[in-house]
């Protein structure tokens, strides 16, 4: 019998010497990385220029597994790091890959300001509705009436509707998928690379270990079935209508796709107008 060649096209984007990864069985983070790798293949961009910046948490570990220039920063600060990286070296395609707690609690201020400035960075937010790395505490995304380790009698903190918040802050591209929608997610990620400005994709992901288990919602497979059952694709939906609840509809799709001058263009145009020939444009900085 002839041996079939075994080749997974996404391997080139992974640090295979770091596999196996730390994510739990049924977790959606690895699934999203697979979609991301396919997006890199399909986007037909120079992957050498794609830099990944992560914060802290389960999703923060993505930076450690992708075979790109990758920066695992401090908790919540992936976006300001990415801002400096992009402004100093505009040829880079800078992708922030982090979790909901990292991006919207401790890093929430940085996120809204980067969206306001419309810095040309792409943000992938894995939303597992909980702080997973630290053991399942309530996050600013946790829906009401959910058992967490810090709300053992059920959550009552109102939660953020991420697409609504990010659109209001100024993002040019906002989409949401779940770990079930691997192809749609890959297409969205590919499309994100064509956008100039602050782009945001929320990826709803199971945390079977801490969220689904505590709430008697089954395992990873059960969560996939749940996503399939309750997700509705509504491209162009108004973001104020897409808030998540514990068991209600998950609205997915592309919600926002608009044009706004990005931070680099705004800075350039203003300085040209004010300084004329005295303005010295910055290409990629390079210390000799």
């Amino acid at each position: 019998m002839t041996e079939l060649p075994v080749h997974n096209p996404v391997e080139q984007f992974l640090r295979m010497d770091r596999i196996p990864h730390i994510w739990c069985p049924g977790c959606g983070i690895g699934t999203s990385v697979n979609s991301f790798a396919h997006a890199l293949i399909d986007a037909k961009i120079d992957v050498k220029n794609v830099a990944i910046v992560s914060g802290i948490g389960c999703t923060g570990r993505v930076a450690g597994y992708v075979n790109q220039d990758s920066f695992h920063t401090t908790h919540g600060r992936a976006i300001p790091f990415a801002t400096g990286l992009k402004l100093a070296n505009p040829k880079l395609n800078v992708v922030v890959y982090s979790g909901d707690g990292d991006l919207f609690a401790i890093g929430g201020n940085h996120l809204i300001h980067a969206a306001r400035r419309n810095v040309d960075i792409k943000v992938v937010c894995i939303n597992n509705l909980i702080y997973a790395m630290t053991g399942g505490q309530t996050a600013p995304t946790t829906p009401g009436d959910v058992i967490t380790s810090t709300n053992p009698y059920g959550t009552y903190d109102p939660s953020f509707n991420l697409p609504y918040l990010v659109e209001a802050a100024g993002a040019v591209y906002v989409a949401r998928w779940t770990a079930f929608h691997v192809r749609q997610l890959a297409r969205s990620m590919q499309e994100m690379f064509t956008k100039k400005g602050f782009s945001f994709i929320e990826v709803l992901s199971p945390c079977p270990t801490l969220y689904q288990r505590r709430n008697k919602m089954g395992d990873g497979l059960d969560t996939m079935k749940f996503y399939k059952a309750v997700s509705k694709v509504r491209n162009g939906a108004s973001t104020k209508d897409v808030a998540l609840t514990k068991s209600g509809e998950i609205t997915v799709g592309k919600f926002v796709d608009r044009e706004r001058s990005d931070y680099g263009v705004l800075m350039h145009d203003q300085l040209v107008e004010s300084l004329g020939d005295d303005y010295v444009e910055t290409e990629a900085c390079s210390c000799q």
Binding site: F71, H72, T74, F81, A88, N109, D278, C287
Partner: protein, 385 residues
């Protein structure tokens, strides 16, 4: 190598320390700054914001100091020389990213124009009360390099030194100014570019694939890769091996954290800067730094007129602390008088280095003004008795 001409404002100027610091950064090759407004330091970045678009570079005002102190590190990995500027309350917020710069060996400069604290304290008035915070404020074991200018001229000169040390040792370097030095205006001479030595970034010549990002050279400092050139480098604040990969084993932690300390400790003799005057034969040596050294100068002169043999020892690098030099002096003098605009910080280092061989007398001050020379003089006279 020499400074890039575009950033150097050669000539004789009348500048305050904050503006001189900005010119030092530009001369050193800084082309990126991120900051958040805070008195009495803001003038540094205000000038940078006006100057850098004509030189080729970027200033961005961030949403807070947490952001500013990590944005500069993104810029460094993007290829720029970068710095941020703040004062006490902002410096407190930056502690997280001082640790990140130390752990990731990111060359960058932090300028702290010190004001009175704790908390909001004295926004427009001087202190030197962040001297221990800069050494110990972030968690974990580490060594830092901190420089203390005592004039606008030194704000220019030592900011260049700070950038050079940052590149040479791949660590954050601190320019510990104070409100008076920041706001006083004096003559500042900026030399022509070919007389300004600038340390280039230590980029690796090893090709991608063979390069190990955190493998040190013989001086314990690793070379840097260029981002976007296929190195696929991984940078993390987690304990990491020489590839940069997270590794939580105690043996890896031990090797990494010791090296981060030793790259400063073993090069301390090359890093340490001080000014010593009439130490030989002195009965009393006055130790001071920053603006306080100029007040102490007056006290020293009066004491000498009164016949006391007084030496002067001015810390230019507070960290690493010149402990060998202080120990050597301690065995020859009766006493040290340590004057500083706090209630006793660097004096602890003097006591530690003196190890009981000489009396150590603090002339503290809670901040809000400089010392009165009389207070330092009185301490000199008392210990000389």
């Amino acid at each position: 190598m020499h400074a890039e001409a575009a950033g150097v404002l050669t000539g004789t100027h009348f500048l305050d320390g904050d503006h001189a610091c900005c010119e030092g950064a530009l001369a050193a090759g800084a082309r990126f700054a991120a900051g958040y407004p805070i008195t009495p330091s803001t003038e540094v970045v205000e000038r940078f914001a006006a100057r850098v678009p004509t030189v080729g570079g970027t200033f961005i005002q961030m949403e807070d100091e947490l952001a500013a102190s990590i944005t500069i590190q993104g810029a460094v990995w993007g290829g720029a020389k970068a710095f941020t500027v703040t004062s006490g309350p902002g410096f407190s917020l930056m502690m997280e990213h001082i640790g990140y710069a130390l752990m990731t060996e990111t060359p960058c400069v932090f300028v702290d124009v010190q004001r009175g604290g704790p908390s909001t304290g004295l926004p427009t008035l001087p202190a030197q009360s962040d001297m221990m915070q800069v050494r110990w404020g972030s968690h974990g074991d580490y060594e830092v390099i901190a420089l203390c200018p005592n004039s606008p001229q030194e704000c220019f000169d030592l900011t260049i030194t700070a950038f050079n040390y940052a590149e040479k040792y791949r660590c954050p370097v601190f320019v510990m100014m104070d409100e008076v030095v920041g706001h006083m205006t004096e003559k500042v001479v900026i030399p022509p570019p070919n007389q300004i030595e600038v340390e280039p970034r230590r980029y690796t010549t090893v090709p991608p694939g063979e390069f190990r990002a955190f493998e040190p050279r013989e001086d314990l400092v690793p070379d840097m890769p260029r981002t976007g050139e296929g190195y696929a480098v991984h940078v993390t604040g987690l304990t990491h091996d020489e590839r940069g990969y997270p590794d939580m084993r105690p043996v890896v932690q031990d090797k990494l954290v010791r090296r981060l300390q030793e790259k400063i400790q073993k090069n301390a003799d090359k890093i340490i800067l001080y000014e010593a005057d009439q130490i030989e034969g002195a009965e009393v040596v006055v130790v001071s730094y920053g603006i306080t050294s100029r007040v102490a100068q007056r006290a020293i002169e009066i004491a000498r007129q009164k016949g006391v043999k007084v030496g002067k020892f001015r810390l230019i690098t507070a960290w690493p602390f010149p402990e060998k030099k202080i120990a050597e002096i301690a065995s020859k003098v009766k006493a040290f008088v340590v004057a500083e605009l706090n209630l006793g910080q660097m004096v602890r280092e003097v006591e530690r280095a003196a190890a009981g061989k000489a009396l150590v007398r603090l002339v503290g001050h809670a901040g809000g003004s400089v010392h009165h020379p009389e207070d330092i003089l009185q301490a000199i006279m008392e210990v000389a008795r």
